[in-house]
């Protein structure tokens, strides 16, 4: 079963580049990437650029509305994701707990459907 681990955090809480906390975070991500690859569960993942680069789009009454910024005005933003292929939710939650951001942000775990249009 494929699960997406959506990584949410308040950018103000993310460690700043060049600090020891940042290095620790990067090491955390690197270690988890290594073990997910070794376990053969990693199907994909990316980090997103900051919300200041986000553009939202919607169609209303046939007109395209394009807006600066992310969809929801919240403190925590989607910062990246992993897709893992594991047997059940408990296994997905184990990997979610390995994501360094879980210590100050929130990881949302969602099962995926089988609609991947790129597959």
């Amino acid at each position: 079963m494929n699960y997406m681990l959506l990584i949410y955090s308040d950018p103000a809480m993310d460690p700043a580049y060049g600090t020891p906390a940042f290095d620790a975070m990067m090491k955390g991500f690197f270690d988890m990437n290594t073990s997910m690859k070794a376990d053969g569960v990693l199907r994909g993942g990316e980090a997103l650029q900051g919300v200041e680069t986000a553009t939202s789009l919607r169609l209303r009454g046939g007109r395209t509305e394009t807006m600066d910024g992310p969809f929801a005005e919240t403190r925590e933003h989607l910062g990246g994701y992993y897709i893992v292929d594991v047997p059940d939710l408990d296994a997905a939650l184990r990997y979610a707990a390995m994501i360094p951001t879980a210590q100050w942000g929130t990881i949302e775990v969602r099962p995926l459907m089988h609609y991947n249009p790129a597959a």
Binding site: M1, P87, L89, L93, R110, P111
Partner: protein
């Protein structure tokens, strides 16, 4: 014409088997099907079959085994006829093969511990954990559960459906947690049982008795399924000892404080059982016989 006044002996047997073994049958089905709604529906189908079949051909050697076998077959039928089923053919074939190979069960494998951990999984909303546990492992109907939560039957039905759908869609496993996660997950189960108990306790002896009894049943079940666990023994002891005083707790609508209670009205069998469990739980924690005795001394003398 059916004579509705005379009790139908087959219906009585079926009702009795379901009263005693419904949780066990549901757990065995859910563990195989990984779908609680399907397990419930298939068991219901099997019960309907039993009512007509047992009347014609007599009771099977093992009514429980018969129900399980037939329910599995009914579940496969339901999966086959459901074009919207997300299950792939390979899984269905495997299930059908397993079903064909399995001899009629003489004894049903007890999967209830797995089912408890599933119903009390932290990925399920807390209130739904209580409702689901009462519905699947306890003996309560959706209508009865709605009544104790002061919800409408429809709202409670929807809550239960949502929880069951999440278990299937998110693949919450039917599994006993590994040792690393055991303490946390056990706490989640014990919290559910304890909340059921306190809900019954707060409602008072007149209305809350069912819930207190359900909690006691669930705690005993957990202790039987996973013996020698100090946390479980402690929780069961707490429920036993509190329940033992139920008869003396309220007099004429007024709460009677512990010191003023008529001790003759305490249920001493429950107290003894609770005390023995406390002793066992303390012994489990490697406190040594003397220190546990010291700890127990004020406790036991209080209840003498």
């Amino acid at each position: 014409m059916m004579n509705t006044a005379a009790p139908n002996p087959v219906a009585k047997v079926v009702a009795e088997v379901m009263r005693r073994d419904r949780g066990r049958l549901l757990a065995a089905l859910a563990a195989r099907l990984r779908d609680m709604q399907l397990a419930e529906d298939a068991l219901q189908d099997a019960v309907i079959s039993a009512l007509s079949h047992w009347g014609r051909s007599g009771l099977p050697n093992s009514p429980q085994g018969w129900l399980l076998k037939v329910a599995l077959r009914k579940a496969i039928d339901r999966l086959r006829s459901n074009s919207r089923a997300v299950r792939n053919i390979a899984e269905l074939t495997l299930l059908a093969e397993e079903e064909a190979q399995e001899a009629p069960f003489d004894t049903i494998p007890d999967e209830r511990l797995r089912l408890i951990f599933t119903c009390c999984h932290p990925a399920i909303e807390p209130k739904s954990r209580l409702a689901l546990t009462l519905r699947t492992l306890g003996g309560m109907s959706t209508v009865e559960i709605a009544a104790v939560f002061l919800d409408s039957d429809v709202a409670m039905g929807q809550r239960l459906s949502r929880a069951k759908a999440k278990i299937t869609a998110a693949r919450i496993p039917f599994a006993i947690p590994d040792p690393e996660h055991w303490p946390d997950r056990l706490q989640s189960v014990l919290t559910v049982i304890y909340l059921i108990f306190t809900r019954g306790y707060a409602a008072g002896p007149a209305r809350g008795l069912t819930l207190c009894e359900e909690a006691l049943f669930l705690a005993r079940l957990l202790n039987d399924l996973s013996p020698n666990d100090a946390e479980i023994e402690g929780a069961l002891a707490l429920i036993l000892i509190t329940n033992a005083r139920a008869g003396a707790r309220v007099q004429g609508g007024q709460t009677v404080l512990l010191a003023a209670q008529d001790r003759m009205q305490w249920n001493h069998a429950l107290l003894d059982e609770g005390r023995a469990l406390v002793a066992a739980a303390l012994a489990c924690r490697n406190l040594g016989p003397s220190s546990s005795q010291q700890l127990l001394e004020p406790f036991t003398s209080f209840y003498l």
